[in-house]
């Protein structure tokens, strides 16, 4: 019931978000026809604005946008001629989602074990070295880690291709450079969660029962310890699935992350609103799923 209610809240929330993005991007100085598509004369500019209905009052424009949205149409891109926003999303999003999902798996696959092992060996060298590595992963920006990985693995040792998207080998370096930060974050969250849970009474009870350390860790502690990671996965997945400008730019991957930045920079109004809506839908749905997962993992959490 609680989740149905929240699901019902989504459309109005999305409507407000769309309106906000719609207005914000139009209020910002500069317009879509400032740079490459700079019109030669005022007449042409007026004609262009009229063609995209940008000369109408903003509320009327928004109404028109909603009308299109009802038919699943985000409108035409103002920068890429003869492309609709839906076109571009349909082309670029699957690539970004694939890469994002891989990076998500990478982050969990390395972050969770690292966090658990660090927590198990608290205060020992395994803890210090893993915690340090995790912190390092969080502290080195992606646009440094990426080129360095390329330099080492693609150019120096020639293990993986330098760029492009396609085969399994192509996916390795982008996945690592995208997932590194998140792996570090997940490892830190897991370690903290684990340390907190290991102090709780029910763990002492489990020990008193004579369970083995591994059983205590994996069957009893982990379930609660990953709660911070679970709640972080919502925003993390939304970020990863909608692409990364840095990684897509570096490896020449035809994903949506590049569009996200470029459309905002070049005031491609329709594109920005479409992408903002896409991100918002993903984030809100994922957060809903995260909250549902919470009730499954932690029996103490009850949503009225």
């Amino acid at each position: 019931m609680y989740f149905l209610k929240r699901l019902a809240f989504l459309p109005p929330l999305l409507l407000v978000i769309a309106f906000l993005a719609f207005v914000l991007v139009r209020v910002a100085p500069g317009g879509p026809f400032d740079k490459e598509r700079k019109p030669a004369s005022p007449e042409i500019e007026r004609a262009l604005l009229a063609r995209y209905h940008l000369d109408e009052p903003i509320l009327k424009q928004f109404g028109r946008f909603l009308g299109g949205l009802a038919q699943g149409d985000f409108g035409a891109s103002l920068k890429y001629r003869n492309h609709t926003v839906s076109d571009i999303i349909a082309q670029a999003l699957p690539v970004s989602m694939e890469l994002g999902a891989l990076a998500f798996l990478f982050a969990l696959g390395f972050g969770l074990p690292a966090g658990v092992i660090a927590a198990m060996g608290r205060g020992r060298w395994s803890d210090y070295s893993l915690s340090f590595l995790a912190l390092l992963a969080v502290c080195v920006p992606g646009f440094v880690a990426g080129p360095l990985l390329v330099l080492l693995f693609a150019i120096h040792w020639q293990v993986f291709p330098v760029a492009l998207w396609g085969g399994a080998m192509n996916a390795v370096l982008p996945t690592v450079s995208l997932g590194l930060y998140f792996a570090g974050k997940v490892a830190r969250l897991t370690r903290e969660g684990m340390l907190e849970v290991l102090q709780m009474d029910f763990i002492t009870a489990a020990r008193a029962k004579g369970l083995s350390e591994t059983q205590i860790l994996l069957r009893h502690a982990l379930r609660l310890a990953i709660l911070p990671v679970v709640s972080y996965s919502g925003p993390m997945l939304a970020d990863l699935l909608t692409g990364s400008f840095v990684v897509e730019n570096l490896f020449q991957i035809p994903g949506i992350g590049v569009f996200m930045v470029n459309s905002a920079l070049s005031r491609d109004y329709t594109m920005v609103v479409g992408l903002v809506l896409l991100y918002a839908i993903l984030l809100l749905l994922l957060n809903l799923i995260v909250d549902a997962a919470y009730t499954v993992l932690d029996p103490r959490v009850r949503h009225e």
């Binding site: 100085p29 500069g30 502290c139 920006p141 646009f143 390329v150 330099l151 400008f245 840095v246 905002a264």
Partner: protein, 339 residues
């Protein structure tokens, strides 16, 4: 007799609290032993915990040393941060400790200069996020009801906007405003600092959301506590209750979150500089130096120093900030249970 001030009790403390002597002699009247027992205040206990955390102590010392170096270097350095020379891509040497960059500028001087800007960005961004976030969250949590839901729904909505789009829009709006002022006779020397202020403000404007949520949660639980109700019953105004009863109890969690958010803001500025939206050349931040260095990565000739030194400086600074932040959280956050 007036009560002994807290600081005197702390200074006079000769033995740790809860020492075994407290239980030693059963003949002694209980009341008297209680009264003689020195008390460690919560701040003192927090400091003790912080001191026990080697990583945090180390990080703090590193940060202080680092601040000294980057603050004093302009007076010691034989080089100007923007002085161009003929020595392009000079390798690290006795004259140029970190080598020189594409324009022959001394990299050590530029890193010291960039680190100042980066830390300034982090500190100001965090301060802006503190001001907005605490006010927003405290009002929402304290007022409750419709105010609460209106304010927090706004936070939810802003959360669902992709940060990068929001940042670009906010920064271009600010820059547009500046250009407008410039045409209306704003002197040229004021543009650069104002632009930088705009960047600081813009970064702060996108990072206050989590702060607002945390503060609201704390205020909600504080509001129903007896001492707050007592203060209201005694006729204190809302402002007074907020400032005198609630805010002091938030300070721990605010400091912790602030310390933890500085590295994030520094990192985000470096990303913006990489996009060309952050610090504008010839000014430098660690992020823009890194972005310049990353441009020079190629397979023909590796100028490792232009990337290694800024990256190492940024990583070390962020590591130290994170260590201090973690230490502060362990010391101050009431939610972290001690063993």
């Amino acid at each position: 007799m007036p009560p002994i001030p807290y600081w005197i009790r702390v200074c006079a403390m000769s033995e740790p609290p809860h020492s075994p002597q407290r239980l030693a002699s059963p003949d002694e009247p209980v009341a008297q032993s209680r009264r003689l027992q020195p008390l460690a205040g919560p701040n003192w206990q927090a400091w003790e915990r912080f001191k026990g955390n080697h990583g945090a102590l180390f990080g703090g010392c590193f940060l202080i040393l680092f601040l000294l170096v980057i603050a004093l270097w302009p007076f010691l350095s034989p080089y100007q941060a923007n002085a161009i020379s003929d020595l392009q891509f000079g390798a690290p040497s006795w004259h140029h400790w970190f080598g020189t960059d594409v324009h022959g500028r001394d990299l050590f001087t530029r890193v010291a200069y960039g680190a100042r800007i980066s830390l300034l960005v982090g500190a100001t961004g965090a301060a802006v996020s503190l001001a907005i976030g605490v006010l927003w969250g405290a009002v929402a949590g304290y007022a409750g009801g419709r105010w609460d839901s209106a304010l927090m729904r706004t936070v939810d909505i802003l959360y669902a906007l992709p940060t990068i789009v929001f940042v670009i829009v906010v920064l271009t709006a600010l820059n547009g405003l500046l250009e407008n002022w410039e045409t209306h006779g704003l002197p040229g020397w004021a543009i650069q600092p104002l632009r930088m202020l705009g960047l600081f403000g813009g970064l702060g404007a996108v990072s206050w959301l989590t702060m607002a949520r945390i503060v609201r949660g704390q205020v909600l639980s504080l509001r129903s506590r007896p001492f707050v109700e007592a203060s209201i019953a005694l006729g204190a105004t809302h402002t007074r209750v907020l400032l005198r009863s609630i805010l002091p109890n938030l300070s721990g969690i605010i400091i912790v979150y602030l310390a933890l958010s500085v590295p994030g803001i520094v990192l985000y500025e470096s990303f913006l500089s990489y996009l060309g939206m952050g610090i504008q050349p010839p000014q430098a931040s660690l992020g823009s130096l890194l972005a310049e260095g990353a441009e020079q990565i190629n397979s023909v000739q590796v100028y490792w120093w232009v990337i290694l030194f800024p990256a190492a400086t940024l990583a070390l600074t962020l590591l130290a900030l994170n260590f201090v932040g973690d230490g502060l959280r362990d010391a101050l956050d009431p939610r972290v249970r001690r063993q």
